[in-house]
Symmetry: C2
Subunit: 333 residues, 2 copies
């Protein structure tokens, strides 16, 4: 794991714990469990938590703008809170029962508690950036709210795709740009915003994060069909079983030709048998869904790295951003 990720985890955990300290006990219990700080009974556990990718990007973006990493801490905490709000709600909406090899919060505490806890984290994220009310904090809060709105829009689009067979490749990319790209773009620039960086620096960092998000999502979509269960923790072709319109599927449906038509016919039925799931995955591959998705991932990674060249960013933060980008896109692929 890149040192910048390990450092971010160490720097952010105390601030994250501090930020949730004043939440009501009922909410805090669910948050503590969800973040891996405690078990279902509220007892502290020595978990590893998440990978802290977003906090790491936030801290590095402050440094890339020439400020100490500390300056990015409120932004790092805020994006991590928004990310976790979205995980709590997405698990409810997707009826997912497991996350990081543990029961999801709603499966354990009930749907109501998971929804209200997600709500609490979203507004807490905003509040973290509101004091002191400096112009930099106000800009950061506005950027976070814009990113959160984009992420929510992406989730709504994703939900609506499930019942559709005519999603275009463009629509699919716009959805991913919202659902995954918006918050990563914000994470990658919010430290620079807090550091009072110029528009050029902020824009180049935001663009880096957006394309990193698109690269990451393309890989995630690829793994959702062809990833090995031992590594992904998810069943083979899980996304096809759940009728998700991820990038490989959308590419294949848009490809035209007999294989594409057979795929459409297959997916237009409701529940697929295991044989049909496997057949659909083959058809997606034959229509170029696998190869073109990998190409897209590579293209967006290159665009992300290229964006870092568009502004004079400070070293070594600039290189560490690149290191993280390569790390999170170098999954078993």
């Amino acid at each position: 794991m890149p040192p910048a990720l390990l450092r971010a985890r160490d720097m952010i955990e105390p601030a994250l714990r501090e930020s949730i300290r004043d939440l009501a006990p009922d909410i805090q219990r669910v948050v503590g469990y969800h973040l891996g700080f405690s078990d279902a009974e509220g007892q502290p556990v020595a978990g590893e938590g998440g990978k802290a990718v977003r906090p790491a990007l936030a801290l590095l973006s402050a440094e890339a703008a020439g400020a100490p990493a500390d300056v990015g801490i409120p932004g790092a905490v805020a994006v991590e809170l928004v990310h976790n709000f979205s995980l709590l709600h997405d698990d409810v909406m997707d009826h997912d029962l497991e996350r990081r090899h543990r029961p999801t919060a709603w499966a354990l505490f009930g749907m109501g508690q998971a929804i209200v806890t997600g709500d609490a984290l979203m507004v807490l994220a905003q509040r973290v950036l509101m004091e002191p009310a400096t112009p930099e904090h106000s800009s950061a809060a506005a950027a976070l709210a814009r990113a959160t709105a984009g992420m929510i829009e992406g989730q709504a689009q994703d939900l609506s795709f499930q019942s559709r067979l005519d999603v275009s490749v463009d629509e699919c990319e716009r959805m991913s740009a919202n659902k995954t790209g918006a918050l990563l773009s914000c994470a990658s620039s919010i430290g620079a915003i807090l550091a009072g960086a110029g528009d050029l620096e902020v824009a180049s960092l935001a663009e880096f994060g957006l394309h990193l998000g698109l690269a990451f999502q393309a890989i995630d979509d690829w793994l959702g069909i062809w990833g090995r269960p031992a590594l992904t923790g998810k069943p083979v072709a899980g996304d096809i079983r759940e009728q998700k319109k991820t990038l490989p599927v959308v590419i294949a449906l848009a490809a035209g030709g007999p294989d594409s038509d057979r795929l459409r016919e297959l997916l237009s039925n409701g529940g697929l048998s295991e044989a049909q799931v496997s057949m659909a995955a083959d058809l997606v591959e034959r229509c170029g869904g696998s190869e073109r998705t990998r190409t897209e991932a590579g293209r967006h990674l290159a665009l992300a790295l290229g964006a870092l060249d568009r502004a004079p960013l400070a070293l070594p933060a600039r290189e560490q951003l690149e290191e993280i980008a390569r790390f999170v896109t170098a999954r078993d692929f």
Copy 2:
């Protein structure tokens, strides 16, 4: 209906429509239906919408601070959006199927769409107050975020009360101060904040709104047991059937004595028969739950009106605030 409420509805509707115009189509469809702007198919309907109590308070609070009502519009829109975010999520959490004599959004569009639409409204409310980034707008955004956090905390407390029989009267009032009071307090002062009013004016208006919320909630709790179905649109003793720990029930459980003990025994069972529901309502009344709840409502209304005397507020707004307070607490009681 007080003229200030009718005026608020007319002033706020265009701004509210404008604020949701840029939401994604999937979200906009659900919002439009929920707000009563359109039917389930998205066709415009000439509905009346809600009572616009919160927007009216926001506009009047700007005027009470000596500014034109217009100054309060962003605050009025923002509190109305937060209120509707909470309705969307509460209906999911409470499994309510009807609101204002129509199917609830989740019943019609599915749980996922209702959750994500609520999320979108919460963040939109914040964004409405973020531009332009004046000190007044920043203060208003901070006040709204604080109120939203309080409201969410109240909802979490309310959820946790359902499985408890030892809720104290104090806990119940704190919950209502959060769940209902926080946003009404914000609504009643956000216009003054936007107008750049002094701390004394803002504090007195906020206190007015808090006690108005507590009075309103006490009445709502009373109606939830003894309200006439023809007027409330809800079944007799509905709150008892749903095991809600509202103020009358909590007062009765805390009263002590044989009737209180019998009530506790009755409520400790799961599903109540109709005869048991009616018996429980009688026991709550015999333990003083009805009378003391009415007393509490009156006490908080007096405190609300008294708060308006603590600062030099401009006329006629000050009197119109009083008129609205009397109107919303003068339900069939």
